[in-house]
């Protein structure tokens, strides 16, 4: 991300935007030196598990172990407790549990964990919609541009834009989220979607939104698309936005 900020500072057309990108780079340096989080929204823990079919767990089991880890990270890492106990009655769980856990079974005897710390300023600006197949590529693109433009300053641009296309109501949102945690420099493996990622990034950066929504040519740093087969009568699309505090880490156990 730090390299992306520096690169963007070279191409940003708005002087104020360049100043903001510079401040974001400096913030990362101060955070590292002072052992502070880069952003006070230390996020909701989103954990992807690629679980080898031959892996066995002792007690307390995988989900409990993940939640214990999230709780320790919150307390020992001085992260912000940002999870409300109940959506309507609110309250706070005090330790950022429960994590959002996605488990995918794969062949083998290893386990790959990908952990994201997802901020909600950008999550709140994310949207999904089920288009009709006739809307096609243009319809999906227009929806993506609409979500980014309407979000404007609120999701803390420059953004990483995760787009899910296809699947159904629940899976389209899942693949949009998962696409965020692909390394920034990696493109979709399908050249058709890789080209769309490139084209849509250019279009998004013409919106004028710019760093922090204060105007400019760096609205997003990357667009990641993931696609799935879908019902013949539907064209689901989900746009999951991440802010410039784009935090994720992988480990293989």
């Amino acid at each position: 991300m730090r390299k992306a900020f520096k690169d963007a500072a070279k191409t940003e057309v708005n002087p104020q935007g360049r100043e903001i990108l510079q401040m974001i780079s400096e913030n990362a340096e101060i955070a590292e030196k002072e052992w502070l989080p880069i952003c006070q929204d230390t996020g909701l823990a989103v954990v992807y598990v690629e679980l080898g079919e031959e892996v066995r767990f002792d007690r307390p089991g995988l989900k409990e172990a993940i939640n214990q880890g999230v709780s320790r990270a919150c307390k020992e890492g001085l992260l912000r407790a940002s999870v409300a106990k109940d959506p309507l009655r609110r309250g706070n769980t005090g330790d950022n549990t429960p994590a959002i856990i996605h488990i995918d079974m794969v062949p083998g005897d290893k386990m790959k964990l990908t952990v994201g710390a997802k901020g909600t300023g950008s999550e709140n600006m994310s949207r999904m919609k089920i288009l009709t197949p006739s809307a096609g590529m243009e319809g999906v693109k227009n929806f993506v541009l609409e979500v980014v433009t309407q979000g404007g300053s609120n999701p803390c641009p420059p953004l990483v834009v995760g787009v899910g296309i296809g699947g159904n109501f629940e899976t389209v949102a899942e693949i949009a989220k998962k696409s965020l945690y692909r390394p920034l420099k990696d493109k979709n493996k399908d050249p058709y979607y890789a080209k769309l990622e490139e084209d849509w990034l250019k279009e998004i950066n013409k919106s004028g939104v710019g760093p922090q929504g204060l105007g400019g040519s760096t609205t997003a740093l990357a667009v990641h698309i993931e696609a799935l087969p879908c019902h013949i009568g539907a064209l689901p699309v989900a746009v999951n936005i991440d802010c410039h505090a784009h935090r994720h880490k992988e480990a293989v156990l």
Binding site: Q40, G121, G208, G210
Partner: protein, 190 residues
């Protein structure tokens, strides 16, 4: 922005005359007290105002900073403390401006009723750069919970700040920096 921005120093409590000269795009530097609060503290404050009760702290003339900080590491007054999204406070903001708050600091756009309330009350909305949690924490020299410690990060905080940087996003004339800047740059990038 097309016009040249100027730098103003703000020292609360603020008077109308401190805010009248501010124009969107101007930079401000705040020294003195700022009150940190977000969703839960706002809900409590507006409930108290509705019941005609005095707030735990007299916030008339003061600046509200929309923030929910991380816990303070040893030897520091506060953890990371950047602005949160202001639109979540839009439901409460007109009430707070009517009460006498003179400025709010957050990130992102405000709804039309909030902008109207600022014009009516000669108040402003300032934006700090979102995601500068570590940088902005370094401008906070002292922090204490002023009310509702049970709300954790969502408590009402009292901060002593020095040279806290922000940009005027809505001025007393109801102008909006986001609308004007994005329109200008979208046209330029066509």
């Amino acid at each position: 922005m097309t016009s040249e921005s100027r730098l103003y120093k703000l020292k609360p409590p603020l008077k109308d005359s401190d805010l009248m000269p501010l124009k969107i795009g101007d930079k401000v530097s705040i020294t003195g007290l700022m009150y940190g609060c977000r969703d839960a503290a706002h809900k409590n404050m507006v409930e108290m105002l509705d019941k005609g009760q005095p707030l735990p702290v007299d916030l008339r003339g003061q600046i509200l900073y929309y923030v929910g900080p991380t816990p303070a590491p040893k030897g520091r007054p506060i953890g990371a403390a950047g602005p949160t999204t202001s639109l979540r406070m839009d439901a409460y903001a007109p009430r707070m401006y009517d009460y006498g708050v003179k400025a709010t600091v957050g990130k992102g756009t405000r709804a039309e009723p909030v902008v109207k309330s600022m014009v009516k009350n000669k108040a402003v909305y300032l934006v700090a750069i979102g995601g500068l949690g570590a940088t902005l924490a370094s401008k906070i020299k002292a922090a204490k919970v002023a009310a509702w410690p049970e709300l954790g990060t969502e408590a009402l905080w009292e901060f002593k700040v020095e040279d806290f940087p922000a940009i005027v996003a809505n001025d007393v004339n109801g102008k909006d920096i986001y609308k004007e800047n994005v329109k200008y740059w979208a046209e330029k990038l066509k």
